[in-house]
């Protein structure tokens, strides 16, 4: 099962098998984490085991590894479904920010061929990461912002030329 988390504005991917063995797309390494019946987490390294700590609260997962703290957020994937956003939400060729905020990561590059639900750009607003996704298959024709830009809900972040 593939999981995605945002850490310090960066999207991280982890592939978890049997709720136990984790592998990573860019790192040639497997990590085995065992959750004991009493809900504690143990890192396996051969025969050695060491306890690590984690708490899940809402969309945030707090982790402590050897006293180093990690705060992962589960990205919200609202793809501009149009709850609070302005712009023309009905037009799938334009992707808007759901709330005014700051661009933390631009994933799409002009000219990319993207599938529906592909991640295009991540906006941070109200301390939450919003991953804006493509609502339909198409080709990226414009990327209107770069990382660090403040964005509103009126100007499209990404424009697509829809396939058929």
């Amino acid at each position: 099962m593939i999981y995605e988390f945002v850490h310090n504005g960066e999207l991280k991917t982890v592939d978890l098998k049997d709720n136990r063995i984790a592998t990573f797309p860019d790192v040639n390494k497997a990590v085995e984490i065992d959750c004991s019946p009493d809900g504690r987490f143990y890192l396996h390294n051969g025969d050695a085991r060491s306890e690590v700590h984690a708490v899940v609260s809402g969309d945030t997962i707090f982790v402590d590894i050897n006293s180093v703290l990690y705060e992962f957020t589960i990205p919200s994937q609202d793809g501009g479904k149009g709850t609070s956003g302005g712009g023309d939400m009905a037009d799938p060729s334009k992707v808007y920010a759901p709330m005014p905020g700051k661009v933390v990561k631009v994933i799409a590059v002009e000219g990319d061929e993207v599938e529906a639900k592909a991640q295009l750009i991540i906006v941070e607003a109200m301390k939450m990461e919003h991953i804006c996704i493509a609502k339909a298959k198409g080709k990226v024709t414009a990327v209107n912002f770069k990382e660090g830009d403040q964005v509103d809900t009126e100007t499209p972040l990404i424009e697509l030329e829809l396939a058929e």
Partner: protein
């Protein structure tokens, strides 16, 4: 024969309020706490026999509000008020208000507080008592000419300090004459905005100094003693973060000399109850009086561990009118103690205060481990107050044992739900320069200016742990590429609330 107080109000919050409440209970004194609306369910609020709400979260409308606290004390029928540290602890008007309302202020007289609160006045008094001072101006400076003359006389580098100062505000180090005028103006501006008083003065800046302070104690029967030193050289922006006792730089002869000077300060100020006399110690063994703190200090536990006394209980006894107890007349030092302050702050991001709810709280234990804490599982840490959550104190037969216990204890201390400084503190205590005792007041600048928490090192382990925790708790969250977006309307998190490892989902 004096009688011990029957009921004491603690005019503070957090770990120090808890500490004072414990001392009262040990002595069989009934306790009263006060709380702002932010602290309705705080540890200190619920621990006392009675508690009184004194207003909204901002300290000016609650914990700093003299009238409300006096009212609560009268309503509860308390005999005395313990101010803790911070808030009203060094407020002469508060000490006076207690007296005016027939309440005992557990601390020194308003006159002592006022004298020591004014750095220019207290320096004058100390000169007359023969206590060594850092060369510099005897009075607050007005014209830049005065500052220039004093700087030339003391020799550069010099330090500009605010008369009403503290916590590093209104302080400037000046290395050359050309920089003097700008520094004086800057310090004045900062002093004005921080304390409402732009009086500044100048003194010689000591290179490679150590911050050595002496715990002192005096009763109302003319007895005054010192309870040895604490070294608090590890500071970040003039705020202490690691303290230890004894100091490895203080020899028995020096201890005797400095201790005598500290007691001299106590006598010159006509001081009663617990206090701290701060000195700077230079590399040649010369020491200079800095200031006297007229309260129980944050770092008092290391003195308690080394001297085997209860300073807060003694405060209560002495304020009740008793003479200093037996233990304070035959004091000796045993072993070594180190304290670290656990703050809710982001050590990896410029020490920004961190707020949130403590979702997991696990304290270390074992021989020589003591924790003075004001928080527990599910405590909320807000923005209105000092972000100190707890203090960890480790004692050992010698310094290396105390250090080893501290590093071990810090590795077991788990707080999740907000950012804290545990990893940073552990790296300091484990640092080789700390081990070799090269602890000058610029230790942090010198050794930790490019510190980072090292998140990348164990990123995969952290991600794996997050994924497992997430899978077991929130199985519907998967990445968009593989998951079924349509099913995301169902979100158990909207109903389940916070979840903690080790507990069953309710």
């Amino acid at each position: 024969m004096p009688e011990l107080f029957k009921k004491v109000l603690v005019a503070n919050r957090g770990e120090i309020a808890v500490r004072v409440l414990r001392a009262c209970r040990t002595l069989g004194i009934k306790t009263v706490s006060v709380y702002s609306t932010a602290d309705r369910y705080a540890v200190h609020t619920l621990m006392a026999d009675e508690c009184y709400e004194i207003g909204p979260p901002p300290p000016l409308e609650s914990y700093l509000c003299i009238d409300k606290i006096i009212d609560a004390a009268k309503k509860a029928g308390a005999d005395a008020i313990h101010p803790g540290y911070g808030f009203l602890a060094e407020n002469a008007a508060f000490s006076q208000a207690c007296i005016d309302n027939n309440l005992v202020f557990i601390g020194p007289s308003p006159e002592s507080i006022q004298l020591m609160g004014n750095k220019v006045e207290s320096r004058k008094k100390m000169v007359n008592a023969g206590v060594p001072l850092i060369p510099g101006m005897k009075d607050a400076g007005e014209s830049i000419e005065q500052f220039r003359k004093a700087a030339d006389k003391a020799g550069y580098p010099v330090l500009i300090k605010a008369a009403a100062g503290g916590g590093g505000k209104g302080m400037r180090v000046v290395h050359k004459q050309e920089e003097l005028e700008t520094a004086v103006d800057g310090a004045k501006r900062e002093a004005k905005s921080a304390f409402g008083d732009d009086t500044v003065y100048l003194e010689k800046y000591i290179t490679d100094p150590r911050h050595i302070e002496f715990q002192v104690f005096a009763d109302s029967h003319g007895n005054a003693v010192h309870v040895f030193e604490r070294e608090c050289s590890i500071q970040r922006r003039h705020q202490k973060i690691v303290e230890e006792s004894p100091s490895i730089a203080v020899t028995p002869e020096l201890r005797k000399k400095m201790g005598e000077a500290a007691v001299e300060v106590v006598k010159a100020a006509n001081y009663v109850n617990a206090g701290t006399v701060e000195f700077l110690l230079d590399t040649s063994g010369k020491f200079y009086f800095l200031e006297m703190n007229t309260r129980i200090q944050v770092e008092h536990p290391i003195t308690e561990e080394v001297a085997g006394v209860d300073l807060v209980a003694e405060q209560l006894r002495v304020a009740s009118g008793f003479p200093l107890s037996k233990q304070f007349k035959n004091l000796s030092q045993r072993g070594h103690a180190i304290e670290v302050r656990i703050y809710a702050e982001d050590a990896g991001n410029n020490f920004m205060p961190s707020i949130g709810k403590i979702l997991l709280y696990q304290e270390p234990t074992g021989p020589g481990v003591r924790i003075d804490s004001g928080v527990r599982h599910n405590s909320e840490v807000g923005i209105d107050y000092d972000p100190i959550m707890a203090k960890l104190i480790c004692w050992g037969e010698d310094r290396d044992t105390a250090r080893a216990r501290m590093v071990k204890a810090l590795s077991e201390y788990k707080i999740l739900g907000l950012r804290h400084s545990i990893k940073y503190l552990s790296d300091i205590v484990a640092h080789e320069k700390f081990g070799s005792g090269e602890t000058y007041t610029d230790f942090i600048e010198r050794n930790f200016s490019d510190w980072s928490d090292g998140v990348d090192e164990n990123m995969e382990m952290a991600l794996a742990t997050a994924a497992v925790a997430n899978a077991l708790v929130k199985p519907d969250h998967v990445a968009s590429g593989n998951g079924d977006m349509g099913s995301r309307d169902y979100n158990p998190w909207l109903t389940i609330g916070s979840w903690r490892i080790g507990e069953k989902i309710k």
